[in-house]
Symmetry: C2
Subunit: 222 residues, 2 copies
DNA sequence: CCAAAGACTGACCGTACGGTCAGTCAGTAA
DNA sequence: TTACTGACTGACCGTACGGTCAGTCTTTGG
């Protein structure tokens, strides 16, 4: 099997280990930690259960390995997005659109992290904040504070709250798509750019009529 | 034990059954279905495991019983909130504030439903929409459509999307509070009314400066 | 007072879990 | 050829799971 050797040379891990990781990400994204069994992962990966223990010390270690990979991926993505240039409104729209599209693109990893973040375990929460979310949130808040210094964002608003609203809208939409798809009124459930555009429109310009600035209405009629 | 008799007469169920339900709600709100064990529920309730099977056919039946109770509770709450009167802006603020405060007040039930709604199981999603969320969402959308007919809400916006944003902001905040608490910038994490007020302010009036109508700034400086 | 009914229990069953281990097999360097 | 290494496996272990059942208390209607 020449393929196995070359695949190991390329990624630093054997074909079996890669299959295990792929299977584990898939299963851990579908169900919670306890519901996923090592037997199930082994079957999905096409290897023996004992082989998993050859590559990973324990179920916990395998899970943490996946979590760390997903987390550093997320951190890299956001730091990239947060570094974009341009006027405030465009930065916000670009961030929201790209953030949501990558949540969907890496749906498996995203679900693993979200499940962990919303698990309610305070120790895990603190760890996630220290290692991942803290830095991400700081960069997000900085964007809004820059908007306030530039006089574009209302000064009486809490920048951190604004960042929470923007991220929250994306995350909630990502989480709730399975529900929204069954709601006949929510046609936007299958149209990510439409949601992003109108969501940012509302966030920036508000829902109320008769208060739009000259530059408003970006994408609302796409 | 006179207390046992009276408690059964009052609620239609024995003290043991009530203890089982209470324990089950608590545990199912903390962990997922598979992670919660019947032994754990029995211990938490202070009864034998066999006693649970005397009152409920199976683990699944116990879980469904809890889910149905939580769901009808949620449906009742939202239909009550959606029926409020007053001008559009006030209805939105009242709904958001009260909705979030009741999410927290019934945090256990809320978590059980949210976990189920975001489980990713499409059959469960469809069932939840048909039995609970469908009606709730319809009422919410109606509020926004009424706002549009009254000329208060921008006509080019999608009413269903607006409803999603409002509910999503509350739900995300409720889910993410454990994370937000660890973020030093997010002081609003422990101040529900402040979050509700400023969230609604942003939703209605937008984040951008220089576009506020006369009635704006409701609660932003509390 | 006494049977019928319902609340409740300890012991048990088969199964699936996470984890271990001795051992096989292919590739590799000496 | 030989000795070694890492990938990999089937069989096994103790434990905890959901669920069952015979039987014991406790309350209640006649």
């Amino acid at each position: 099997m020449q393929a196995r050797i070359s695949s190991k040379a390329a990624t630093g891990r054997s074909a079996g280990e890669a299959a295990i990781l792929e299977a584990a990400v898939k299963l851990f994204s579908e169900k919670g930690y306890d519901t996923v069994s090592m037997r199930g992962i082994a079957e999905e990966a096409g290897v023996s259960k004992a082989n998993i223990y050859h590559h990973f010390d324990s179920k916990e270690a395998l899970y943490r390995s996946i979590l760390c990979a997903s987390a550093s991926q997320l951190a890299g993505l956001v730091s990239e997005l947060a570094g974009s240039a341009g006027p405030f409104e465009k930065r916000i729209l670009d961030f929201a659109t790209e953030h949501l599209s990558r949540l969907e693109g890496d749906a498996l990893s995203s679900r693993v992290i979200l499940r962990e973040a919303f698990s309610g375990n305070d120790e895990h929460n603190k760890l996630l904040v220290d290692e991942v979310f803290g830095g991400i949130f700081e960069r997000m808040v900085a964007i809004f504070e820059a908007g306030q210094r530039a006089g574009v964002l209302r000064n009486e608003l809490d920048a951190a709250l604004c960042a929470t609203l923007l991220i929250g809208a994306d995350v909630f939409f990502f989480q709730a798509r399975g529900i929204l798809r069954h709601l006949p009124q929510a046609g936007f459930a299958s149209d990510l750019p439409r949601f992003s555009a109108q969501m940012v429109d509302v966030m920036l310009n508000g829902m109320l009529a008769g208060t739009l600035p000259a530059a408003a209405g970006q994408g609302g009629e796409g």
